[in-house]
Symmetry: C2
Subunit: 213 residues, 2 copies
């Protein structure tokens, strides 16, 4: 059950009436670690706002290649879900819960009214858009202008920050997949980083020592 007291700290900029409406009309949904929250091609019937846990968002192509784009942390919404919901279009992204995740789903018929009724809501939506947009721009910078070694470093930093942990619990093969590269390449680059003392390579995970050497 949703209470205003719980929502308040996550969304301090929301009006009291808005929090009230969210509590009434939103539904809590739980996703297990590793569960897919959204799949390419799926239609939305509601908007998703993450309240607990951590989500990774990917772009996928037709041949099963995938590509890590950004994290969604508590307090953030899937920008696409908001607008797809409005237009009843299909998802172009895949979202995966990487830890146990809790999210509020909000039926889309409220969105329109909230946009004009609550300044807090329209700022939230626009702010989310802006942030996702900027992350996409950063992603483009990396794949357009940077080599794999720099991209791997960036990936490790991002994960360290969002996971709030110096242990990145993914295999070389998984990391390779998320960067649209291959295991061998990641393995070699990882060794270079280990030689510089930036990471320690373990089985099933990477330990980050210091990425700024």
């Amino acid at each position: 059950m949703l209470t205003i007291a719980e929502l308040q700290p996550l969304f301090p900029m929301f009006e009291k009436e808005l929090l009230q409406e969210i509590a009434e009309k939103g539904t809590l949904r739980n996703f297990e670690e590793g569960e897919l929250m959204m799949k390419t091609g799926q239609y939305f019937r509601s908007t998703l706002i993450v309240t607990k846990g951590l989500v990774k968002v990917f772009r996928e192509d037709d041949e099963g290649n995938e590509f890590f784009m950004y994290f969604l942390e508590p307090g953030q919404a899937c920008a696409l879900s908001m607008i797809c919901a409005l237009k009843q279009e299909r998802s172009e992204l895949t979202a995966k819960a990487i830890s146990a995740t809790e999210a509020i789903t909000i039926p889309l018929d409220n969105m329109d009214r909230w946009m004009s009724a609550y300044k807090g809501w329209s700022q939230f939506v626009l702010g989310n858009y802006r942030n996702r947009f900027e992350e996409l721009l950063t992603t483009i910078d990396h794949i357009a202008f940077r080599n794999m070694d720099e991209r791997l470093l960036f990936y490790l930093r991002k994960n360290q920050q969002s996971l709030k942990s110096d242990f990145i619990p993914f295999t070389h093969a998984e990391i390779a997949h998320e960067l649209n590269s291959s295991r061998e390449v990641i393995s070699r680059l990882m060794k270079k980083l280990a030689d510089k003392g930036m990471v320690r390579v373990h089985r099933q995970n990477i330990e980050i020592v210091n990425l700024n050497l």
Copy 2:
């Protein structure tokens, strides 16, 4: 001077009062062919909505590399300018008028109020966001998953469509720059396309014959 009669056909979904406000508070600005409308690092004091002409939007990195992302056509707004304006932040994009272009500038202090006052406006803003977002996703697809030859084809199609012309008035070097590649590569790929009968290569421009062979 702005009149409602002129604005109406470009923005059929806007309320009469909104059109009235745009006519009162917006200012027309003209840009010559080739003029930079927006530069990385610049601050916005207003939102730009293109009314005539054609604009190319690029991403730039620190070393002067640039990267074509999408076109802005009449009736479209620079998504970033809208939100940067709101937050008083700086541009992360470069926009160049590629033909004589006319745009309405709207002082940013109206935006907030319009978002809640006019459904037409908030839908316009969100719709623009959505479209730019999708174009960015397409861009990411191409640089992440496709080779230069496919990217060149896509580039030619896009330009043909937006320029509404079978003559793409750019040199190989310019195209290379926009795709973050090099002249020689484009030159060779262009020759391949010519061999297949898809294009004819001229000095200073490319003639598109049929890109679907």
